[in-house]
Amino acid sequence: MITLKKSDYEKILAYAVSELPNEACGLIAGKKYENNKTIEKVYLLTNIDHSNEHFSLDPKEQLAAVKDMRANGLVPLGNWHSHPESPSRPSEEDKRLAYDSSASYMILSLMDRKNPVLHSFAISGTDSEKEELVIV
């Protein structure tokens, strides 16, 4: 199970909407205990692809985020990105570029702008499995 604060969900959503028509992206960090992850901080990073079909995290911002996590006693839990025009599920490219099978990959679909959908996935090779996501 992975837990996300409602305020952090709203932060991700607002940023993703502000970045339309392009994909938005970022990192998630927090605490991990056995199979439970608690997100304590979300990071809103620049998509250096500036594309509505691809994203790549800005490495400089990624480095700053990793240092911030360490300074705050948080562990990296994964990343998030938006799909402006497709459902909340990992694309073939998302799977191909998911190198860490222990990470959570959160995808926010803005396909229906009035009804955004956020899911979290564990990805291993070509397999993906939806994680139980709780927004509190």
């Binding site: 994909e23 992206c25 990192l27 692809d49 594309s51 509505n52 079909e53 691809h54 994203f55 790549s56 995290l57 490495p59 400089k60 990624q62 480095l63 990793v66 240092k67 360490r70 990343n79 990105h81 799909h83 402006p84 025009e85 497709s86 990992p90 694309s91 490219e93 998302d94 570029l97 998911a98 190198y99 860490d100 990959y105």
Partner: protein, 68 residues
């Protein structure tokens, strides 16, 4: 000499290169890793020739990307 790798201080041999450190640290999928030394990003074709110095701080960052 003493260097810091991902926030952890480590004693390593003098003359260690970034390439050797990647091997020593058992970095997974090194082709998708970006390396910074003292906050400066190192081009992947310079990993072999970049010799670390005492006090250097090294970070490994995994490329993160995808597409819809």
């Amino acid at each position: 000499m003493l260097i810091t790798v991902a926030g952890v201080k480590k004693e390593v041999k003098d003359g260690l290169t970034v390439s050797q450190l990647i091997v020593d640290e058992k970095v997974e999928t090194p082709m998708y890793v970006t390396v910074s030394v003292n906050d400066e990003f190192i081009a992947s074709d310079s990993f072999e020739s970049t010799v670390l110095k005492d006090g250097d701080s090294v970070e490994f960052l995994y490329f993160m990307g995808g597409g819809q």
